[in-house]
């Protein structure tokens, strides 16, 4: 690729039920710290972090959204232009796992990406440090991912900084790979429209009225 040194901006949206730890995950990844004083996110916020992937500096712009479904009508503006969607749930909260379907659907409807079947999603199961309270097994999460076109799954803990780094790096890689593939699949200038001359002739001959 020619633009290997180009600085790319990848827009990443974190979605998931309220209280699963979206803000904590974002802050752990970007600022490498955990606080138990985060408030419920209202409106939207984002943080950015630069990562180096294969000689390329990529800026991840991570958008944190409100978790309550009622706020989603506001999120629409932020969904647009997303390069990757991180779905997050709380492994100690089965309900947050069950909402994943609706979060995913909601995102696909609102963001309407060009190729919804291959849009890069990543699933994060947060709070694995609370193993004794776990309500969603790893297997269960993985099988859900399989049914959604092999979404990568990571078990993470924002509190213990467990796997967070790796997960976001994979997210960046995935989105970047997707981006370059899209450039091939959907070049800047669309192919010229090729009209089938035979078909045209047929149509012409058929219309003699």
């Amino acid at each position: 690729m020619s633009g290997t040194r180009k600085k790319a901006l990848l827009k990443v949206i974190i979605l998931g039920d309220s209280g699963v730890g979206k803000t904590s995950l974002m802050n752990q990844y970007v600022n490498r710290r955990f606080s138990n004083q985060y408030k419920a996110t209202i409106g939207a916020d984002f943080l950015t972090r630069d990562v180096n992937i294969d000689d390329r500096t990529v800026t991840l712009q991570i958008w944190d959204t409100a978790g309550q479904e009622r706020f989603q009508s506001l999120g629409v503006a932020f969904y647009r232009g997303a390069d990757c969607c991180v779905l997050a749930f709380d492994v100690t909260n089965a309900a947050s796992f069950k909402s994943l379907d609706s979060w995913r659907d909601e995102f696909l409807i609102q963001a309407s990406p060009r190729d919804p079947d291959h849009f890069p999603f990543v699933l994060l199961g947060n709070k694995v440090d609370l193993e004794s309270q776990r309500a969603v097994s790893s297997k269960r999460a993985q099988s859900w991912c399989q049914t959604k076109g092999n979404i990568p799954y990571y078990e993470v803990s924002a509190k213990e900084a467990l796997n967070v780094e790796a997960a976001f790096l994979a997210i960046a890689r995935d989105a970047l790979a997707r981006e370059s593939q899209e450039t091939n699949d959907f070049p800047e200038f669309p192919d010229q429209i090729r009209l089938n001359p035979n078909q045209q002739n047929q149509q012409n001959s058929g219309c003699n009225c």
Partner: protein, 691 residues
Amino acid sequence: MVTYRRMSGRMDQEATAEELVEGAHRVRNGENSGSTSGVSSRPPLSITRQVSSIAASVERNGSVSRDYVFSLHHSCKSTLLYGKNNVCVAMNGSDFAKGYMSLQKFYDGNLSLKWVPNQLMHASSQPSSGHSNNGEFTNFWKNTINIEMQDIIYIHLHQKDEASPTCLTFVNCEGVQSAPFQLPAGQHSIAFLSSLETGLAPLLRLDPPLWTGSTKEKILPRLRKRSTAVPNPAMLDYVFRLVRTSGIEPAPEDIEDPLAPSPIPPMHDNCVSLPNSPYIVDNVDSIVNFQIGKACQSMRHQILARAFYGWLTYVRHLRTIRTHLLHLVNTKTVISDDDCDAVDDRFWKECRAEPTKENEEEFLRRVYWRGIEGVNSKEIRRRAWPYLLGLFEWNEHPEGKLEQFTKQYWEEIEEWRVLEAEVRRRDEEAFRAARARKAASPVREESCEVFEDPNEPTCSQHYDRENLISLFRANLHRIDKDVERCDRNLMFFSNKDNLESLRRVMYTYVRRNLEEGYTQGMCDLLAPLLVIFEDEALTLECFSILMIRQRGKFPQRPGMSKCLLNLRSLIQVVDPQIYSLIADIDYAQALSFAFRWFLLDFKRELSYECTYKVWEVIWAAQRLQITNDFAIFFGLATITNYHDVLITNNFDYTDMIKFFNEMAERHDCSRLLSSARTHVKCLQNLVQHLK
């Protein structure tokens, strides 16, 4: 000039919001030379302060210093009219040297032509390398050329053909020739001569003057050759004379009076001996007059255009106000802030002793302009807020009602306790089921949990109860999550009992309004009330009233859009420069940073102490019928307060989201409040004027 890297997405690490604000202050205070002023394309309606403009005061030493060319461009004594590098000058007979030729005009009107050899410029730009060959260095200095144009009477221009270099020779009044300057082929000589012509005006001119070509570019005059024998027709030879223009009329209107004495004294004694021009002097005068007339005409047009656009802008602003902002303020009650004190303990006691209509007016007026102050402001707030919110009538004693509220509150708690117990039982069951599934770890498709199966109930009563419980359960979970993380940094809520109070009040409110349900943000609105009242029943009642105000702005209701649109219109009228940053984007997206502002009336943006102050003013403004939307004006003040930061850094909407999120709890609330009140007053005046 301070340049901040924009903190948009990819470069936010460069500057924090606070650094940006500090930077803007520094620029404002003039610590940095350079200008931050931008010319607003649409001037605001008198309400805005303009960006402080700091004139560039780059006082540079005009002498040949480290960077000669730079000094030519940045001299306060002279203006560079023309500059050309690699101009050849014959040094000793056939020896040519390249150098930088420049034409400068000094503030006294004198022109001077300078030429500096390249070697000298390179040497002087690298001072360390100049030590070894000092002799050569002085030699170069000798070779610099400095010609005062006032001494020159003839300029010879010689060019073999179009493709060859042009030679310029300057002859002074004593007939001494300068060394020929060789300009490269092309338009360089024309460019130089036209710069010279411009520089000479208005006192001197070239004779013959340069002609203006078909596309308004300058060309050499096409003169008939005197000599009939032309050995080389392509060869170009010109002699220009520098002659004094005979007199200048101040305006073309005075052209009828050619005898008016010339206000300009002769420039130089040498000029007196100039030979007569073959052109008729009157003709030249008319050319000069025509030019001046044209300049005046153009100025007149520009002045008219500015006046017109100013008027157009004003009319447009007024239209914005008429169509969008007319009902934002009430002009019937323009309440002045003359000699008004804050509400203090003494005044509050007076009010309670004599709860007259006048006292109420005075109370509201004081709250609006000065707020509630004093050592025991919390105690005054505790007593005054229910009146301010309209929970109690002004002349009412609260005791009876308070008792009734408390009784009712605890009864309601008894009622929902039963539901809560059922919810907890089901939560426990669901958790056990999930654990059991995890232990067995079957890989199965997702299915609904047993208790959510809607096919179970058989009679409608049972069905209603099921509905009630599942609805209450969903709300309880949401509330629990938000209560747990509500302002834990605050001393008050680090106490578990207070968190429990918050939870109880929230449960009770949601039980009362189950259809509306719990939406994130409600806890934020409730928390300051609980901190002030420290009485759950009273908090609930006041919160219920507050929610009547705020409910409209919650999701799925039109209030928020209205707020954002009004804010947008206000920005358009008050600060067109900021408006230009957001004008092209959908308003909901452009102003998404203000969503939280209005949802919570700035509770997240300010400290608790400041939140109290702002809320009081919002409520008082409504009670006084000044405006129902003081919050929008406070939002406007918050934006215009950071005008410099937003404009200097050319923020887009994502930058603004980040900036305002970072600025949370760091605003100067008193300043914003007084600015917001000023905005209200200005709009009131404008609306009154319109009516």
